[in-house]
């Protein structure tokens, strides 16, 4: 009988861990755990990145608490809609398709897509891209992207949609695509510009061209969550008027 009581205790405690209720109102920010330089988990297990620093500043300034948690990117919008997180501040592009499901703050950054290929040596033993941009998107080339990103959308619409039969390989995150590019399983990989810079640092990879989509990033909240949207918009307006904004941009987003 003692076994049963201990068993019940264990189950009870464990379930309580899950149902823990927090006393104060805290906004939970979901991030892609592997999307440097905007959001990632560093080696001590803590969230870091441009979007993380900016959001923390905004929370401080506007007087609310924020908890930043890593979420599987594939499930991030459903997790927002099911109210397990309250916002997404993670290098997320504002798109028409996403606007149908969530509400975005004002845009705070703009990027283009980068096409990454392996680096080899040219005739003078200087580092050079293995392929040109247009060679990379020829039929039967294997091109890798992160699932559920604008890179995937762009290639599907403008390359495959235009009848150019590249083989599009989808990855859980762009870093895995870069790993496959290094091994040789891919001919090229396409991703957001700043993240490409972050991913190729220190490796024989290079950005061979840019796709000028001029896409814009915004924070996502649930439709109808007007209060949080207003808080975030006001916070963005304020931080962009300070030196902190320039410092953070220089720290995270300027290619070194």
């Amino acid at each position: 009988m003692k076994y049963r009581t201990t068993l019940c205790l264990i189950v009870g405690v464990a379930l309580c861990l899950g149902f823990a209720v927090s006393a104060e109102k805290v906004y939970v920010d979901g991030i892609d755990a592997a999307f440097p330089p905007f959001s990632f988990i560093d080696e001590t297990g803590d969230p870091a990145g441009f979007d993380v620093d900016v959001l923390r500043w905004i929370a401080d300034e506007m007087g609310f608490e924020v908890e930043i948690v890593p979420i599987d990117w594939d499930a991030i919008i459903p997790t927002l809609l099911s109210e397990n997180i309250d916002l997404i501040a993670s290098g997320m592009t504002i798109t028409a398709a996403r606007q149908e499901r969530v509400a975005f703050t004002d845009a705070y950054w703009s990027i283009d897509l980068a096409v990454v290929v392996r680096q080899t040596e040219d005739a003078d033993s200087e580092p050079a891209p293995e392929l040109t941009l247009f060679e990379a998107i020829r039929p039967d080339r294997k091109v890798g992207v992160q699932r559920g990103t604008t890179s995937q959308d762009w290639l599907e619409e403008n390359v495959i949609g235009a009848g150019i039969g590249i083989e599009l390989m989808l990855y859980e995150n762009f870093l895995l695509a870069l790993e496959d590019l290094l091994i040789g399983r891919l001919d090229a990989a396409v991703m957001d510009g700043p993240t490409a810079q972050s991913g190729i640092a220190g490796r024989p990879l290079t950005v061979v061209g840019t796709i000028s989509t001029g896409e814009i990033y915004g924070y996502a909240v649930r439709k109808g969550d007007a209060d949080l949207l207003a808080l975030l918009n006001e916070g963005l307006r304020r931080i962009q008027a300070t030196d902190t904004w320039d410092e953070l941009v220089a720290k995270w987003l300027v290619a070194k």
């Binding site: 264990i10 189950v11 990632f40 499930a75 109210e83 397990n84």
Partner: protein, 223 residues
């Protein structure tokens, strides 16, 4: 960089351990009555439990996780934490598998035991409680260590609904350090230790409840 991050792996291992203990415990609390019902309950009850069994042993764990997290969580007015969703999904699944373990164990007890118990006046419920379950429990322990091992591996899916367990900690570290092979080998060691430590505990339990002279090599090391 990896060695500095090992504490995060331990933190993740703690969460995975909490997940597997809760899920197996839920599986046991539900699995025992369901297992007994599979053998002794009235037909309508057995029919309903047959459906439960087909569903929870028929769907992949990840589908059950999504159904628990987005399905239950999507119902108006209900908010479910990721941890609870994993425990519910894996717990119910484990209950279905464990019910089969207990059903088999119950059927292994000699018919003579039941006859004798009824003959001395024990009710069916009393027979189950005092004669059948204690013996069935001994028969079911070896299979339970299997169940623990399987559920522990299934918890590796927990990040798909947002629980930061050992597997996801490993993923973050692999991405950050770019040493994929090293990190995944390291995390394999963590899972190895967790699995075999758990199995050893079940082994200990087997030895503790073994009845000397009954069965072959009961409780003694065969593997």
């Amino acid at each position: 960089m990896i060695w500095k991050a090992i504490p995060t792996l331990f933190a993740g291992a703690g969460i995975s351990l909490a997940l597997v203990t809760s899920s197996v415990a839920v599986g046991m609390l539900l699995g025992v009555p369901i297992g007994v019902a599979h053998v002794y309950a009235a037909r309508p009850v057995r029919a309903a439990l047959w459906l439960f069994d087909r569903i929870f042993r028929g769907f992949p764990a990840i589908v059950l996780l999504f159904l628990a997290f987005f399905g239950i969580g999507g119902l108006p007015g209900i908010k479910i934490s990721p941890f609870a969703a994993v425990v519910i999904a894996l717990g119910l699944r484990s209950a279905a598998y464990q019910a089969q373990i207990y059903r088999g164990a119950l059927e292994m007890v000699e018919r003579g035991q039941v006859d004798a118990a009824r003959a001395i006046g024990l009710s069916m419920l009393g027979t189950i409680r005092h004669v059948l379950l204690p013996q069935a429990a001994r028969f079911s322990l070896p299979s339970l260590s299997n169940e623990y091992s399987v559920v522990l591996k299934d918890t590796a899916l927990a990040f798909t609904v947002g629980v930061v367990d050992l597997m996801s900690r490993a993923k973050f570290l692999a991405m950050r350090s770019r040493e994929l092979l090293t990190v995944y080998l390291l995390v394999a060691v963590f899972y190895f230790v967790l699995t075999h430590a758990g199995i050893a505990l079940f082994r200990l339990a087997e030895r503790r409840v073994a009845i000397p002279g009954m069965g072959q090599r009961q409780g003694r090391r065969t593997m």
